[in-house]
Structures are given as structure tokens and as C-alpha cells.
């Protein structure tokens, strides 16, 4: 039964990774931009949850306010900085977003210090359901999984049914593709970037009560998200989902079975996938 709990934790972690990785893969897939600061947006979300929960006294109020703030932040960054990099080599995107990471980390340290903070689980969800006589599972974690699944379903519908979705499905689509579809490109790109930022920040917000809020939390998860995107295939939402669950479960079980090597386990998994399919599991060849 212990394993059941671990697997549930793994799925929950995987679904959270999916929220992050889907934003990352959308930004790659539609805009062709590699965004190292994606992890910082996760961190920003967690600190927004911390700050807004303190301010309003409720995570339920903090969540919508935080998402609005994240959308605004994303739109502002796209408009002021990211927009200038579309035509440039990936190298410049890497470095500019690397600079942003330093800025966000230092601002975080300036505003919140370097301590680890906790965000309380909302009282309504702060209980556990018993699985057996001796084991129980916290409802808030199930809530995270449920919300992530709902968002994944919403994303699936958007991608299957809308014009924006057509662009995503066209793979690493470009400006010509978008023009053919008669889309206002700058607006769509701003929207996609803001959406990606909002997804990352939202993931940070709902994760805050279980993961706690601490310096460097964004960087740690960023690399894992890269692994998810590489395994799933760039631009593929389905791939991101499969890979995120794979990584979530592998990482959680790895921590239990081989604690010393769990950090490496996900990278080994990536290496194996890479040997087998250099462009990821769900990338058209």
C-alpha cells in the first residue's frame, strides 16, 4: 500500500510538471523561443501565493489574483523583451532569459529574504481520506491532481477545436503559417507567452502549500521540465503529458528505492529515450 501512496504522489507531481512543461512546449512550439526563465515564473507563482494568502487570508482569493498578476507579467515581458528575440538565434533567447533568472532570484531575495516559507493548506481541504486502516492520503494533493487534469482537458479542447490549436498542431509553426490562418501574430504571441507564464505561475501557486516556498525552487524544476519536453517532443502537448507522468512517477519511486541516485534517474531516462528517439516520443519525424 505504501507504493500506492508513492504512485499517487508521483502522478500528482507529474501532473504539476505537465502544467509547467505544457507552457514551455507551447512557447517553443508556437513562438520558437527557448525560455530559461520558465522556472522563475513557477517561483514567482509560489511567492505570489505566499504574499497574496497573507494579504487576503485565503488561498482561494490568492489564486485568481495571482493568475491575473502572472498574465500581466507575461504580457509585459513579451512586449518589452521577448518580442525582440523572435528573429534571433536561440543563443540570444537563452542568454536574455538567463539574465531574467538572475533578476527574479535577486528580487525574490530582496522582497522575501532567503528563508523557507510555508503556505497553509486551505481549511476546507486540510484533511485526509483513509485508504486502509493505517494509511490515509491528503485531499489537497488529490485536489492538485484534479485541477491539473481539468486544465489539461481544457487545453486539449482548445488545441483540438480552435484556430490557436491549429497553429499548435501544425508543430513548430512559423509566421507564414499563422498568416495563412489570418491571425494577428503579435497579439497571439503575446497571448501565448502570457498563457505560458500564467500556467507556470499557477503551478507554483497550487504547489506552494505542499512543496513550501524557497529560494532556487524555480531552477530545480526548470531542468526537469526541459527533460519532460525533450522526452515528450517539442510542441507536443500529448507528449508533455505522457513524459510528465513518466518523470513524475520515476522520480517519486526513485526517491524511495534508490535515494542516492534519484536525482540522476530522470536524466538516465532521458538518455535512453534520446538514443531510441532523438526527437522525443511524440515528435513527427
Amino acid at each position: 500500500m505504501d507504493y500506492l501512496i508513492q504512485i499517487l504522489n508521483g502522478v500528482q507531481y507529474g501532473l504539476l510538471l505537465f502544467l509547467l512543461a505544457s507552457g514551455l512546449t507551447l512557447i517553443f512550439g508556437i513562438m520558437g523561443v527557448i525560455n530559461l526563465a520558465h522556472g522563475s515564473f513557477y517561483m514567482v507563482g509560489a511567492y505570489l501565493a505566499l504574499w497574496l494568502t497573507r494579504l487576503t487570508g485565503s488561498l482561494w482569493l490568492a489564486l485568481p489574483l495571482g493568475v491575473l498578476a502572472a498574465v500581466a507579467l507575461g504580457a509585459l515581458l513579451e512586449w518589452a523583451l521577448i518580442r525582440r528575440l523572435y528573429a534571433r538565434d536561440h543563443l540570444y533567447q537563452v542568454l536574455l532569459t538567463f539574465g531574467l533568472i538572475l533578476v527574479f532570484e535577486e528580487l525574490r531575495s530582496l522582497l522575501f529574504g532567503n528563508d523557507v516559507h510555508g503556505v497553509p493548506i486551505p481549511p476546507a481541504l486540510n484533511f485526509s481520506i483513509p485508504l486502509t486502516e493505517t494509511l490515509s492520503y491528503p485531499v489537497y494533493r488529490l485536489f492538485i491532481s484534479g485541477v491539473c487534469l481539468a486544465l489539461a482537458a481544457a487545453m486539449y479542447l482548445v488545441i483540438r477545436k480552435t484556430r490557436l490549436g491549429m497553429m499548435v498542431r501544425a508543430g513548430n509553426s512559423n509566421r507564414e503559417m499563422a498568416q495563412v490562418l489570418g491571425v494577428d501574430i503579435p497579439l497571439v504571441f503575446t497571448f501565448v507567452f502570457a498563457l505560458g507564464v500564467a500556467l507556470a505561475a499557477f503551478a507554483g501557486m497550487i504547489a506552494a502549500p505542499v512543496s513550501s516556498v524557497f529560494p532556487g525552487m524555480g531552477n530545480q524544476i526548470l531542468i526537469i521540465c526541459f527533460v519532460v519536453v525533450v522526452i515528450g517532443g517539442i510542441g507536443s502537448i500529448t507528449g508533455a503529458m505522457v513524459a510528465a507522468l513518466l518523470i513524475g512517477i520515476a522520480d517519486t519511486l526513485g526517491k524511495v528505492l534508490l535515494p542516492q541516485f534519484s536525482g540522476m534517474a530522470v536524466y538516465l531516462l532521458m538518455a535512453v529515450v534520446l538514443i531510441w528517439r532523438p526527437r522525443g516520443l511524440f515528435q513527427a519525424t
Binding site: L81, H90, Y92, L95, F98, E106, I223, Q260, G263, R279
Partner: protein
């Protein structure tokens, strides 16, 4: 030869002479700072070979830097000096083997994949040293005594001496520069540059592009290892942070700041970056913000990417061309 090329050549010679003479005048603090900068210059030049010349944007170069540093740390006996004649070739061979193994995998990918995958492998190494007991875990390990160049009783260069160590690093930096320059002018290096410009054509001319990229990747990894070895010598301490991707990002930034595909650009970039970093952490100038130098550095990086995408050496070259034109006109 163009006038600007000649100007650059003279500036390089002038810079080398200044560095050679510096220990006669400079304080120990600046001697050590310059030593650190020259080590980073070797590191940045190694990256230039693959990013600037071959067109492969790697975000995992710290893996080879850190790995060689760890090799020295693990090979050094406690309280006694390891022999440089054994540990340096050993560390470089191990690093070359590592970059060969990783290169075989990562070079199967391209573009954004390549960036992410190089990053991920560096991170894997980070966890190897961070989570396992190997190399002291997250605390790192000390190298109490610098390696020795002694051959029997003959010991002309004492690495524990700051000035001696400075000259060793200076000589190796010059050596790395001349080596890479020769490599780039060789038939092998010409193919690398052609791959950057037009990989499809190079393949259709009959070159096995993968093998050439792999050769460049291994050479670059090995040179990064040289820098890592020297860095471990200098600071007498290694911890997993030197494997982290922040370090790869910083060296990439040095390269961009100095100007890619020029080698001396990498050297200029290492100097400029570290001097700017020192500047930002001067309390006299930045007051309380000196402690927040990462904030200034982040803003600086963003500005360089937006305003100076071709780097300082391009700026110098353009100024040189302008001056030559004015002199001619």
C-alpha cells in the same frame, strides 16, 4: 590584410605583453583576480570552438570544467601534493572520455533539443556529485596542497607561489589560444566553420558531419577540463556548484559579451564579464546594492543581449575600421 585585422593583431600582442609584465607591478589581490580571469578565458575559448565556430549552442559546458576539477580533487592525497604530471593528463583524459560519451548522445539532436540536452547532462553530473558520497556530496572537498611540477628533486615552478601559478596559467591560456587558432585554420577546423554556415552542403560534399562535430565537442570538453583543473588548483576547493548550469550560462555570456567566433573575443569577454561583476559588487560604487550584484548583472546581461549582440570585439573592430577610414580619408 585589412587594417582592422592588423590593429586587432597588435592589440592582442599588446594585451599579452601587459599580462606578461603584470606580476612585476600588481598586488597579490589583482594577481589572483587575473589568474581567475585567464582560467575563465580558457573556459570561454573552449566554448567558442563549439558555439562560435561550429554553431552548436551548448548549455552544459560546466560539466567538463567541473568534472576535471573533481578528478584533481579525488586524485589529490590528503596533506601532500599530487604530481601535476600525472593528475593533469589523467584528468584531461577522463574529461575527454566523458565528453566523448555525452557527445555521442547529444549530437544526435540539434537546435533547441541540443541546448536542453546538453544542459540536462550537465545537471545529471551535478546530481551525481551532489547526491552521492562521491567527492564529499553537497559540501564538496578541499585540495589542501596544490599539485607539484617537481620531477625528482628538480622543481623549477612552485605552484603554491602566486606568481608562478599566474605564469603557468598565462602560458596555458596562450597555448590554448594558439592551439585553437591552428585547429581552426586546419582542414578539420575549416569543415567546422562550414558546418556552422551550411551543414547540408557540407554533408553533400561527403563529410561525415557527426564525426566532425564530435571531434570539436571532445576537444572543447577537454579544454574546459583544463580550465576546471586550473580552477581547482587555484581555489583548493571543489563543490557541485561548479557543475551547475548557472556556470554554463555565465561562460556563454562571457562569450557573447566578448564576441563569438574569434577566440580573442572569448578572452575579452572573460575579462569584461568578471571585471563588471567585481565592479557591481563594489560597495563604494553601489552601496547596499553591491550585495545585490546579481540583480545588476542580470540587468546588464539583458541589456547586452539587446544592445550589443555581436559583442565587444565587434565594437572594437568597427571602431578600428572607422579609424582606418578616417586616417585614409
Amino acid at each position: 590584410m585589412q587594417d582592422s585585422d592588423r590593429l586587432i593583431r597588435w592589440l592582442i600582442v599588446l594585451g599579452a605583453v601587459c599580462l606578461a609584465l603584470f606580476p612585476l607591478a600588481g598586488s597579490t589581490f589583482y594577481l589572483q583576480l587575473l589568474t581567475k580571469i585567464m582560467i575563465m578565458a580558457i573556459f570561454a575559448m573552449s566554448l567558442d570552438l563549439i558555439v562560435g565556430y561550429t554553431g552548436l549552442v551548448s548549455l552544459g559546458q560546466s560539466a567538463y570544467f567541473g568534472f576535471a576539477a573533481y578528478m584533481l580533487a579525488l586524485a589529490s592525497p590528503k596533506g601532500a601534493a599530487a604530481s601535476l604530471w600525472l593528475t593533469l593528463p589523467g584528468a584531461l583524459a577522463a574529461t575527454a572520455a566523458l565528453s566523448l560519451a555525452i557527445g555521442l548522445l547529444v549530437l544526435r539532436t540539434a537546435g533547441i533539443y541540443f541546448i536542453m540536452v546538453t544542459l540536462a547532462f550537465a545537471q545529471m553530473l551535478y546530481y551525481l556529485f551532489h547526491d552521492t558520497g562521491l567527492g564529499g556530496g553537497s559540501d564538496g572537498i578541499y585540495i589542501h596542497v596544490r599539485p607539484s611540477l617537481a620531477l625528482g628533486d628538480f622543481n623549477p615552478v612552485n605552484l603554491a607561489d602566486h606568481t608562478h601559478f599566474y605564469y603557468l596559467v598565462f602560458a596555458l591560456m596562450l597555448g590554448a589560444y594558439l592551439l585553437l587558432r591552428a585547429v581552426i585554420a586546419s582542414p578539420f577546423g575549416r569543415v567546422l566553420v562550414a558546418i556552422r554556415e551550411n551543414p547540408v552542403r557540407v554533408r553533400s560534399l561527403g563529410f561525415q558531419v557527426f564525426n566532425y562535430k564530435l571531434g570539436a565537442f571532445v576537444l572543447a570538453g577537454t579544454l574546459a577540463g583544463l580550465a576546471g583543473y586550473l580552477s581547482a588548483c587555484q581555489f583548493g576547493f571543489v563543490n557541485p556548484e561548479i557543475l551547475s548550469w548557472h556556470y554554463s550560462g555565465i561562460v556563454l555570456m562571457m562569450l557573447l559579451l566578448g564576441g563569438m567566433g574569434r577566440l580573442y573575443g572569448a578572452v575579452i569577454g572573460a575579462f569584461a564579464f568578471i571585471l563588471v561583476q567585481e565592479l557591481f559588487s563594489l560597495e563604494a560604487l553601489f552601496g547596499d546594492f553591491a550585495r545585490r550584484w546579481q540583480l545588476s548583472m542580470g540587468v546588464f546581461i539583458v541589456l547586452v543581449v539587446l544592445l550589443l549582440p555581436r559583442g565587444l570585439s565587434d565594437l572594437v573592430e568597427r571602431l578600428g575600421r572607422g579609424a582606418a577610414k578616417r586616417a585614409a580619408g
